[in-house]
Point group: C2
Chain length 363, copies 2
């Protein structure tokens, strides 16, 4: 068996992914990474190592005109050739704001709805150590704090981001095996699982981009190149094409080193709570400053985040500087009696306690 | 008062450095950073904000021939002009191994012995945010793990490193105020403090290199340039002159961002124990694997390090991969019964327990 396939099945076991009787969705762009993942899963299925319903999911962002459509055709042809089930979504990506972010949100919404329609417990994406190293550097450069240095997680719960309203998206589901039957009408009687699917990245910890490309070549399968990967107006492309090559002059194994560092960071921080910054502790309505003063800075910040998250109903737009402002409010004699939060809400100090006031702050 | 001096006194308070009645040693190379620190302390002393005995300490590494001696003369002249006490050491740096590391060890040994001779509780070095950003990147690139990402600590206990035998060093102490009296003969009756001095970096959290240069210029004081700072055969110089400029194109505040990230990392990891990896817990002779299995990875590793440090008498040459090998020994059914450590010693698993064997491993 090919080394790539062996590594995949080893990681599959470690991640406790299912071996039989379930449906998984595999995000496929047509590039080397996602094709390698799909082909390796196909090989494992043929060798009877896996007995799963594997559905490829391709999202056409419609951002590169004929090139986007050619990618879609390419994936459709491959699915037909290899007898893969395929779900295809078409995006109407909002042009306002961060285009990459909007495209990602639309794609993830499509993957989530596909998984829900299929009652799939897992969505796999083919991010590699290279993607992890790039994400680490991008987060480091923008000063994202320690959580950003943990990079992408190998497994996380897959929820609707809610960042972008994605009304323009239409999910066109193509199933070569059951031609033109829509998945959501195919399984109408099955109750949807109440637990959200997991987003899992089974290549993240061990595969490099050259591994996926080599495996595709060995399998005699062409892969698509995304011309956006050459567009130096994207920070990620500049990190890949300028920064990483310079770092490689210092350390030829820089990709592995950065990916490993992200993994250590994720271990250090622990698994992020599925419900977000609210870590499940029931927080009191008011916090005693005396009790807060006994906490070490990381615990203090975590407590303030949890408390705010619960009483404010989320931490949207609340950054480290706001948490620090609340620390100052609590412990500095020079600060005022109120710390205002972005968007809405404020924290008040009185009688040695902090309380949250859920009002809209006038500008 | 100058902003640089204001920032220094603010940090001085935060670090709980002494204001009167004590002796502090200030490491002075002759470059902008250390001169700015010394001049700012002089200003604070003249303004009666500080009432301390301030002794400048210059170590001539003798690595750059006449340039090194010119640096020494420059610092001597400045000390005479400004009526600073000055201690000068001359180094005989071993040429084998890492020259930068050897030079640093010799310098730190000199600073430590100077502080001990003077009964000084604090040695100050003038490392800036730029040094911190460079250290962070160097550690990141070489894959030092999370501790390296905490960078230099603002305060640490100052012990003899013991890494390099530094027999060639001769400390020639020059005291302009008490000409040619040697400090160690000057204070023979004072018992040396039993607590080691603290190494404190009062510029690390807020000053940039341009701040120290600007302050020197404002004070009308020339500073020395070290030609080694231009030598691209040093990794640190390449980080400063090639990598940081590229990162600056992504984020103009990259130095501040990296220094802040190091600070967050140091907070997350907690203060390193003064006694090193041994965190003060009395560790049992043997460790129960069942009890180890209840720990989260970071705590597990910390426990293994503490245990090894205590029973092996230090963690010299023990890296993450050796700690991981011990984890494997404990938890993997496939591993053998012994994990060997670099240099000497090994860990044995038997009857569900780990024990340390203090023997030299045959190669």
């Amino acid at each position: 068996v090919n080394k790539f396939v062996l590594n995949l099945i080893t990681e599959w076991r470690r991640l406790e992914l299912p071996f039989a009787g379930e449906t998984i969705v595999v995000a496929v762009s047509g590039g080397a990474d996602s094709l390698a993942l799909l082909l390796a899963l196909d090989e494992l299925r043929e060798r009877k190592k896996l007995d799963l319903r594997i559905v490829a999911a391709h999202f056409n962002h419609k951002l590169r005109g004929r090139e986007s459509d050619a990618d879609e055709d390419f994936v459709k042809d491959l699915a037909a050739e290899r007898s893969f089930e395929l779900a295809v979504g078409h995006g109407n990506i909002p042009k306002e704001g961060n285009l990459e972010q909007n495209a990602r949100n639309a794609r993830y919404e499509f993957l989530l709805s596909t998984a829900k329609n299929l009652n799939a417990g897992h969505v796999l994406t083919a991010h590699t150590m290279n993607d992890q190293a790039e994400t680490f550097l991008l987060n480091l450069i923008r000063g994202s704090g320690l959580d950003g240095l943990a990079g992408m997680r190998t497994v996380r719960e897959f929820r609707s981001g809610g960042v972008v309203e994605n009304e323009g998206e239409t999910a066109q589901l193509v199933l070569p095996l059951q031609q033109s039957s829509r998945i959501d009408s195919e399984t109408p009687s099955l109750p949807h699982s109440s637990t959200p699917p997991l987003l899992t990245r089974p290549l993240l910890r061990w595969a490099k981009r050259e591994d996926t490309e080599n495996y595709c070549r060995e399998m005699g399968v062409e892969f698509r190149y995304d011309t956006m990967n050459e567009d130096m107006s994207f920070k990620r492309v500049r990190v890949r094409k300028m920064l990483l090559p310079m770092l490689k002059e210092f350390n030829p194994k820089i990709v592995e080193t950065l990916a490993k560092t992200a993994e250590l960071m994720a271990e250090q921080l622990g698994t992020p709570s599925p419900t977000g910054p609210d870590d499940g502790r029931q927080m009191p309505k008011e916090l005693s400053i005396q009790e807060l003063s006994r906490l070490e800075p990381p615990q203090l910040r975590q407590t303030l985040r949890s408390w705010l998250g619960q009483h404010r109903g989320g931490l949207r737009s609340v950054g480290l500087k706001h948490i620090r402002a609340i620390e100052q409010l609590a412990f500095s004699t020079k600060s005022g009696r109120v710390a205002e939060l972005p968007g809405f809400g404020r924290v008040r100090r009185s009688n040695g306690r902090l309380s949250f006031e859920n009002i809209k702050v006038d500008k």
